[in-house]
């Protein structure tokens, strides 16, 4: 055994004792943050975090939610000020949601997105939601229904909303992309409070429109469904309409929306083609779902109804906000790059006057497990 070998051996033996250096950190030394709520405060921001804590009073450890809040000039300042309150370092690797109050959103959400992207820990696929009436702090303090951790519940609610399609499924990295995409304005989910069976609980209440990074207004749940139809984001949900006193619910299985710009009479027209596969989910029993004529009637009326809804919604956005949340500008940029270069600067005004051509094609696949109505006499 020569000297250099012993020397290397000693170095390695010392190395094994200094493994506390580097990024070695024990999992129990961290305070995992499930969610963050950001409000305005006189000096800047008021940040509330929901920490996953373990209740060790029983033999079976139980997860409890612990809320702490600090104030600071910036988001990062608030987070570092938290060290005064907790012995452990906050850990954002598993943070699933950021709740932003209306006031903060009106001032701009760039500082928050900047922190999420710049810091190594937070995941960029978390959700950012806007609380419309209450402060973010209040929302975070509401009682959770399904889990002990409030923030994870919001996250699950948004993900499972794909079966309903009434809330935009926009995570933080998509939000950042949308902010940076010309001809597209972002829409992110909103949350509100509702008293349900005597329990004050959180509820998803639609979407918030942003002009770049500042809040411009709110959209209702049904508006978001139209928005998701146009953006080709429908993954499920219902389409409900009336035929002469009969309310019919169609269950959407598959939807494909294609938006193409067209030049008609020297005028830019957006052509929206919607292809939806549905099945009859519920009727009040007055309508025949067996014969082709009747099915075709349902189909025609449903198509007209969907087209009307979407046209109506686009009109409202054009007149009320004038913000291209549908990404029409972006589609023009991809399909007609030359035209886009000409109109890019005054796209906002062009959007307000943009002609829309909606063509819905609804294919009714079946009528569920019933082919005759229950009221029908044998």
């Amino acid at each position: 055994m020569n000297k250099s070998f012993i020397f290397i051996l000693i170095i390695f033996m010392i190395l094994s004792l200094v493994t506390g250096c580097g990024s070695y950190k024990e999992i129990e030394q961290l305070s995992p943050v499930a969610g963050i709520a950001i409000d305005k405060s006189p000096i800047g921001y008021k940040l509330t975090v929901e920490i996953i804590d373990v209740d060790e009073s029983n033999k079976e450890p139980k997860f409890v939610s612990l809320k702490l809040s600090t104030e600071g000039k910036s988001i990062f300042d608030c987070i570092r000020n938290m060290i005064n309150l907790t012995a452990k370092k906050l850990y954002f690797g598993h943070t699933s949601v950021v709740i932003v109050s209306k006031d903060v959103a009106k001032d701009g959400i760039i500082p928050i997105i900047d922190f999420i992207f710049r810091d190594a820990e937070p995941r960029i696929n978390m959700y950012m939601v806007v609380s419309d009436e209450y402060t973010a702090n209040e929302i975070l303090h509401l009682k959770s229904v399904s889990t002990d951790i409030r923030s994870f519940e919001i996250d699950t609610m948004i993900v499972s909303n794909d079966q309903l399609s009434k809330v935009p499924n926009t995570s933080v990295y998509q939000l950042a992309n949308h902010i940076g995409t010309p001809g597209l304005y972002p829409v992110i989910p909103t949350v509100s409070m509702e008293v349900n069976e005597g329990l004050e609980t959180i509820v998803l209440s639609g979407g918030a429109i942003f002009k770049q990074d500042t809040l411009e207004g709110f959209l209702g749940l049904d508006d978001i469904k139209c928005l998701r139809f146009i953006r080709n984001e429908i993954k499920g949900g219902l389409f409900i309409f009336d035929i002469s006193n009969t309310t019919i619910s169609l269950e959407i299985f598959k939807n494909k929306t294609k938006v193409r710009p067209k030049i008609v009479n020297n005028q830019l027209v957006m052509e929206i083609k919607i292809k939806t596969i549905v099945s009859i989910g519920e009727t009040n029993g007055q309508i025949d779902t067996l014969h082709e004529n009747s099915i075709n009637r349902i189909k025609t009326i449903a198509e007209t109804s969907l087209e009307d809804d979407i046209l109506q919604f686009i009109k409202t956005i054009q007149t009320d906000y004038g913000l291209d949340i549908f990404g029409f500008g972006n589609i023009v940029k991809q399909r007609m790059p030359d035209l886009w270069k000409e109109i890019e600067t005054n796209w906002d005004s062009i959007f307000k006057e943009l002609d829309i051509d909606v063509d819905a094609d609804i294919h009714i696949r079946g009528s569920g497990n019933l082919f005759k109505n229950i009221t029908e006499k044998q």
């Binding site: 580097g22 070695y24 024990e26 999992i27 129990e28 996953i52 450890p61 997860f63 690797g93």
Partner: protein
């Protein structure tokens, strides 16, 4: 002390007796018996043998009885008469060489001296107790042949010969060990074994200078080309059917007297995962088993370092619910993860070692201590966190699947744990990269260690992770031999 070369056999029987007494001084196992023919009292001779090494029936029936009861006349060339007409033995040899004589007597042969003859006759009379042919405990078979080698070289050779009845099967003897004089046998099939490998093996065996060979492992370590590697480049088995199948593939076997383990070479990495049972069971089933073994090896070396890296450095990689449960169980445990992990791995290895060495009647106590005290109680008392027990348990079970690799996987595991405690997953990846580089650098007698694992040729892959049906294995391993065709592949399957 006089050298054996300095002694000479004289014409006087009494002098020869004294000579033998001097050579075997203080060795009371030497038996000296003087014999006299009953018809010719002048006909005196003396036999020498080592008590315990000989079959006494052979000596009394076929050596002593003919000498005493036959009518023997004194004449010249008496020794030749004895060799050809009197002694009833299948093997006898005349010699004047005293060292050869001593070696022969020590191996259990009987030496016969005659009056007025300056040479002696060595008569084969070996006979000693050997272990019965039993099933080897480390290579248990579910279906295939159950016999295993024992410590007697000739018995072992007979077991191989019984499987390969061909004059092409060659057994070459040599002796290694200055003091032990251990018999070594090199077995191969002529025409299949590569000449170059055989020459290489002979030159390496001839170069070994050692006082004694007690096990085949001595030779394995001497001829290992990478003596510091944790992987063995020669195979070991205790089953004649395994040796026979390797010989048929063009490999060479080395048997050592006194060792039930037979060395086969060249040896490649995938053989570590092959088991004799694979060829006796349905090939779908044995393929699943073999994939399990490979997976077991990978998991036994990977689970602890990856867990350590994830829990201490990359908490964001763990799915949130799992992270929460690890978090909950880690709270208020005193030791850092690295100490918990190494400590419990050591405990596991201690349990394994204790289980292998202790008398079997303590077994139950050991499992109670192991399972209850170290498992549940340690977690309940918050000595260690529960996931560590699971991680160490999974790694331990996976390691037991491949007993051949137990030593190597323990070394790799410790190195990877060390690396991932410093560098996290980077350390793990660096360690695995070095492991792969090392494996691809190794070779066994010129055959790359990772042969057959870097190709998409179906005939080369037939016996790797998946065991193909027997009729598909038409060719012998390409790298092992020049004589490829082993079967017509079965006409039904062409």
């Amino acid at each position: 002390m006089k050298n054996l070369q300095d002694y000479n056999i004289s014409y006087s029987l009494d002098e020869n007796i004294n000579l033998m007494k001097e050579i075997f001084k203080d060795d009371n196992t030497l038996k000296i018996k003087k014999l006299q023919n009953q018809f010719n009292p002048n006909m005196v001779c003396c036999i020498f043998f080592i008590n315990g090494m000989v079959d006494e029936n052979i000596i009394s029936e076929y050596i002593i009885k003919p000498i005493i009861t036959n009518r023997i006349s004194s004449n010249l060339n008496q020794m030749d008469t004895f060799q050809d007409q009197i002694i009833m033995s299948c093997s006898s040899e005349k010699t004047k060489d005293i060292s050869k004589l001593v070696d022969a007597v020590l191996m259990g042969n009987t030496a016969l001296f005659l009056e007025c003859e300056n040479n002696c006759l060595i008569i084969k009379s070996q006979g000693w107790q050997t272990r019965n042919i039993e099933e080897p405990t480390v290579e248990k078979a579910l279906r295939g042949p159950r016999e295993g080698f024992n410590e007697c070289l000739m018995v072992n050779l007979s077991m191989i010969r019984r499987k390969i009845k061909s004059n092409k099967l060659k057994f070459n003897f040599m002796t290694i060990g200055d003091i032990t004089n251990t018999d070594i046998c090199i077995a191969y099939i002529e025409g299949l074994a590569e000449e170059k490998i055989l020459e290489n093996l002979y030159s390496q065996l001839n170069a070994i200078k050692i006082d004694g060979i007690l096990d085949v492992k001595y030779i394995q370590e001497y001829i290992d080309k990478e003596p510091f590697s944790i992987f063995e480049t020669t195979g070991s088995t205790e089953k004649p059917d395994v040796v026979a199948s390797k010989l048929l593939e063009g490999r060479i076997a080395v048997l050592v007297d006194g060792s039930p383990v037979v060395m086969t070479l060249p040896y490649i990495f995938i053989e570590l995962f092959q088991s004799a049972d694979d060829y006796s069971l349905n090939y779908y089933f044995s393929s699943i088993n073999r994939i399990l073994r490979i997976f077991g090896f990978l998991s036994t070396i990977s689970i602890p370092p990856i867990y350590l890296a994830l829990v201490t450095q990359h908490q964001e990689f763990i799915p949130t619910p799992l992270m929460m449960s690890i978090y909950a169980s880690r709270i208020s445990t005193p030791l850092p993860t690295i100490l918990e992990l190494t400590g419990l791995l050591i405990v596991f290895e201690e349990l394994r070692e204790a289980g292998a060495r202790m008398p079997s009647f303590i077994g139950q106590a050991l499992s109670i201590v192991g399972a209850l005290v170290l498992g549940t109680a340690a977690v309940d008392a918050r000595f260690v966190s529960a996931p560590i027990i699971i991680v160490v348990g999974m790694s331990g079970i996976a390691g037991l699947i491949t007993p051949n690799l137990n030593g190597a996987s323990n070394v790799i595991k410790i190195a990877l744990i060390f690396l991932s405690s410093i560098l996290g997953l980077y350390g793990y990846i660096i360690g695995m990269t070095f492991l792969l580089i090392h494996l691809f650098k190794l070779d066994s007698f010129g055959i790359p260690y990772m042969s057959n694992l870097t190709t998409f040729n179906m005939q080369s892959l037939k016996d790797t992770a998946v065991r193909f049906p027997a009729w598909y294995m038409r060719l012998r391993p390409r790298y092992m031999t020049n004589n490829h065709i082993r079967s017509n592949g079965g006409k039904n399957h062409e």
